[in-house]
Each structure stands twice: as structure tokens, then as C-alpha cells.
């Protein structure tokens, strides 16, 4: 479980996050949604420690992550897997090297054990026989899947995904969503996904946090989102005619 309390973050004069508090439960796909510039990615970066909030706390299983220094954070960081918006695969390494990179640094596994682990992770994301390819030889969807494979290689307790569906076709988006859902359910981990893809929201949104102008505007499940009377959330979720039509069937 991850708990955030009163998170505030500013960049210069711009107050990006204004006192956000929330709980992200274990075994659930927790989604952070909101319009462009609402502070979704900034909130995610505050949670994982890439940004330091000016005020507020982030607690991983009740351990105060915000107050820890770099060395103290390492044990928690080893339990974190993250999929970046642009996958952030290491260009100079092959797919296999990307996946075993954290194993090389933090485990005493033998080469064959590391290869087995890489193959297992690649099998999980349906990317067999791509071990020797470089990121530049992969499509966008394949990069995302390798990013997920790298994120789960250390068997994380917390999985973070920043816009996992951006730039992907609808079919590949479904594959990525199902993958995230399966990994969350199978390993009973805490997953936090930043997205503005409404299809993802409806498919995997167990717990949804809606941000508006840097504030927490609404929190609930994908079942509740269709029946909310919150005007900002309604205008965001049902902005397209397709979603408007779908609303009537929900």
C-alpha cells in the first residue's frame, strides 16, 4: 500500500500540486487521470522520488519515503518497477541486457539464472526471441512491453506506469492494459498508472484519482465514474461522442 499525504509541489511561481492526499491499495490498479497539465506525471514523480515535494509525505507500507536519504531509499527502490512514457530503455544495451541490468547490480545470480529470469519476463510480455535485439529495432508497443519486462524483473511490490498507452494503436493498448492488470492480480502488487486514455480507465481502473488544476477532484472506481455528477470529471471522461454514447449503456 502507498499513502500520500498533503503533497505540494511548485516549479518557480507555478503551484503544480496543491495538497493531494490519497491511498493506493495493494492488489489494485490505481489510476491517476486528468487533463494535460493537471499534475499527473508530477505527482507520480513525487511518489517515486524523482521530484521532491515541498510539503507532504509519501509512505510505502507505512515507511516515510520522503524523509529518507538516497542510501535509505535503496531497499524501497529495489521493490519499485517503473514503465516510462517513452519506455526509457538503455539504447546501448540489447533487450536482454536491459532486463538483466538491475539483476547485475543488485543480485548475486549466475549468468544462466539471469538469462532464465529475462526469458521468463519476456515470455510474460509475449516477446520471446527478442533477447538480442536493440531498442532501436523494436516498435513502440514492443518497447513498452520490454519496459514492463524490465520493470518486473526484480519482482517489485510497487509498479508505476507513466502513460503506458501513449502513441499506441487501440489493439496494442488493450494488450498493455491486460498485461498490467494480469501482473497486478498475479503478484498482488500495488500498481499506479498515470493515463488519460479513457478506454484504460474503464478496463482496469479499480481505484481512480482524478486531478484537476493540481488538486484531487474526485476518487472512485470505474463503476462509479459513469454515474458521477462532478461536472469537471464528466466533461473530461465523456469529452468524445463515443464515450457520450457509451455512457448511456453503462
Amino acid at each position: 500500500m502507498i499513502e500520500i499525504k498533503d503533497i505540494n509541489k511548485t516549479f518557480g511561481d507555478k503551484h503544480v500540486l496543491k495538497g493531494i492526499s490519497a491511498v493506493f491499495n495493494q492488489g489494485m490498479s490505481n489510476l491517476i487521470i486528468g487533463g494535460s497539465g493537471s499534475g499527473k506525471t508530477t505527482l507520480l514523480k513525487c511518489i517515486v522520488g524523482l521530484h521532491e515535494p515541498e510539503k507532504g509525505e509519501v509512505l510505502y507500507s507505512n515507511e516515510n519515503f520522503t524523509k529518507m536519504d538516497f542510501e535509505q531509499r535503496i531497499p524501497i527502490r529495489k521493490e519499485i518497477g517503473m514503465l516510462f512514457q517513452n519506455s526509457a530503455l538503455f539504447d546501448s544495451m540489447t533487450v536482454e541486457e536491459n532486463i538483466i541490468f538491475p539483476l547485475n547490480l543488485f543480485t548475486e545470480m549466475s549468468i544462466s539464472e539471469k538469462r532464465d529470469r529475462a526469458n521468463y519476463c519476456l515470455e510474460k510480455v509475449n516477446l520471446k526471441n527478442t533477447n538480442k535485439l536493440f531498442p532501436s529495432e523494436l516498435s513502440g508497443g514492443m518497447k513498452k512491453r520490454v519496459g514492463i519486462a524490465r520493470a518486473i524483473t526484480m519482482q517489485p511490490k510497487y509498479l508505476f506506469c507513466d502513460e503506458p498507452n501513449s502513441g499506441l494503436d487501440p489493439k496494442t493498448s488493450i494488450v498493455i492494459d491486460e498485461l498490467i492488470k494480469d501482473i497486478t492480480d498475479e503478484n498482488n502488487i500495488t500498481t499506479v498508472v498515470v493515463t488519460h486514455d479513457m478506454n484504460s480507465v474503464m478496463r482496469i481502473g479499480d481505484n481512480i484519482l482524478f486531478l484537476h488544476e493540481g488538486q484531487k477532484w474526485w476518487q472512485g472506481s470505474n463503476k462509479e465514474i459513469a454515474h458521477t455528477d462532478n461536472p469537471e470529471l464528466n466533461s473530461f471522461v465523456f469529452a468524445s461522442k463515443f464515450m457520450e454514447a457509451a455512457k448511456e449503456k453503462l
Binding site: 524523482l50 535503496i74 527502490r77 517503473m82 516510462f84 512514457q85 526509457a88 530503455l89 538503455f90 526484480m154
Partner: protein, 244 residues
């Protein structure tokens, strides 16, 4: 402004010299950087060194027209100027362009494509993993490149002197082997170490704090080269003032 940069630079270096997570992984990175910096720079170092020696010999011969000065002095002047100044400084300025821009753009690209964020999320000390191997690779390979550069400069001077008839091969060899001061060689090696540290660390600093996109990576690369060149020239003067 300058103190902000200086402070950030010192903090980055401090983070870079922290104890590695796993020495074996760092060792392979160091080897990779040594090959990239050392072997990768061989071609350009060979070409500029031969021409530095050749031009130095021809120009010295042109200026020494008096019959009272023995022609062998040309060999001595070529040797001393190559060891003391031309090989360490000019080679380092050229390598600031080749090695410095490569380091700044490589780290800058990793920054803007979130690869450095990915390292940090994993719990890796990103400055240590990315910068330390580059500094060690530079500091170990630059002295070897400078020694090679000195040898090739003297060879270039020998060929140019003989070919132009400015100095006979025998006189040139006599000049090379007369009144050699070992202090000059020590100064050249100290310059190589200092310049290597400047190029790798300053370029890495520029790359590490890049933000934005491709345009900013290019600007960081340019800044890395320009700053390295300016600091090399300042350090060159300081070393000369302190050691001679």
C-alpha cells in the same frame, strides 16, 4: 550564477565518486570507456600529431636563418615544444571536441529520454554509474595518447625536416637527444591527467543537467566543448606558471 554552477559541479563529482554498487559492473563500463576514448581517438591524435611536428619543424627552421646557430637546435625546439605544449594542449583541445561532445550528448540524451530517471528509480547511483567510468577512462587513456602524440610529432618533424631540406636527419636526431630535461615529460603527463579530468567531468556535468529535447542536447554538447576548452587553457597557464 558561476557559484551555482560550481556548487552543482562539485556535488555531482561528490556523487560520482561514491562507492559503486557492484565493482564488476563498473569495471566493464570502465573498460568500455577506455576503448571508446583511447582507441576511438587514435586516428585523430595520429593525424594532428604528425602535422604539429611537421609544421613546428618547418617554421622553426624558417626563423633560424643565422649561420651562428647550429641546425640541430631545430630538433631540440621541436622536441621541447611538442612535449611541453603542442602535444598535451592542442591534442586535448581537439579531444575536447571529440570526447567532450560525445560524453555531453550521450548523457544529455539519456537525461531527456528518461534513461537517467530509470537508473535512479532502480536505486542506481546514476552519476557514479555514468560519470565515474568516463573520468577513469579519460584519466587513464589521455596520458597514453599524449605520449603517442609526442612520438608522432617528433616523427612528423623528422620527416618534414628531411623532406624540405630544412634540417638534415642527423642534425635533427642530435637536436632531439641533446639537453633533454625530464621535467618537461612530467609536466606533459600532469597536463594530460588534468585536461582529461576537465574534459570528462565538465562535459558530463553539461550533459547531466540537460533539460528539454534534442535542441538542448546539442546546446549542452556545445557548452561542454567550449567550457572544457576555456578551462583547459586556464589550467595550462596555471600548470606552466607553477611548474616551470
Amino acid at each position: 550564477m558561476i557559484f551555482t554552477h560550481l556548487g552543482k559541479y562539485i556535488l555531482l563529482l561528490q556523487a560520482s565518486f561514491k562507492k559503486p554498487e557492484k565493482f564488476k559492473v563498473y569495471w566493464s563500463e570502465i573498460m568500455r570507456e577506455m576503448v571508446s576514448i583511447g582507441i576511438g581517438s587514435l586516428g585523430i591524435v595520429c593525424i594532428i600529431s604528425v602535422f604539429i611536428g611537421a609544421v613546428s619543424t618547418v617554421q622553426t627552421a624558417f626563423q633560424l636563418v643565422s649561420n651562428l646557430i647550429p641546425r640541430s637546435i631545430i630538433g631540440g625546439i621541436t622536441r621541447d615544444s611538442a612535449i611541453l605544449e603542442f602535444s598535451p594542449t592542442i591534442t586535448s583541445l581537439v579531444l575536447a571536441g571529440r570526447v567532450g561532445s560525445s560524453i555531453a550528448s550521450q548523457i544529455g540524451t539519456m537525461r531527456v529520454t528518461e534513461q537517467i530517471d530509470a537508473l535512479e528509480i532502480m536505486g542506481v547511483n546514476a552519476p557514479g554509474y555514468l560519470i565515474l567510468p568516463k573520468i577513469i577512462g579519460g584519466v587513464t587513456m589521455f596520458p597514453l595518447l599524449i605520449i603517442l602524440s609526442v612520438c608522432l610529432s617528433l616523427f612528423g618533424g623528422y620527416i618534414a625536416g628531411s623532406a624540405s631540406g630544412a634540417v638534415s636527419p642527423n642534425d635533427f636526431i642530435i637536436g632531439l637527444t641533446t639537453d633533454f630535461n625530464p621535467l618537461f615529460a612530467r609536466i606533459a603527463l600532469i597536463k594530460a591527467l588534468v585536461f582529461a579530468f576537465i574534459i570528462t567531468s565538465v562535459s558530463a556535468y553539461q550533459g547531466y543537467y540537460t533539460s528539454g529535447g534534442a535542441l538542448e542536447v546539442g546546446q549542452a554538447s556545445t557548452r561542454g566543448v567550449v567550457m572544457s576548452c576555456i578551462i583547459i587553457l586556464c589550467a595550462d597557464y596555471l600548470i606552466a606558471q607553477l611548474m616551470l
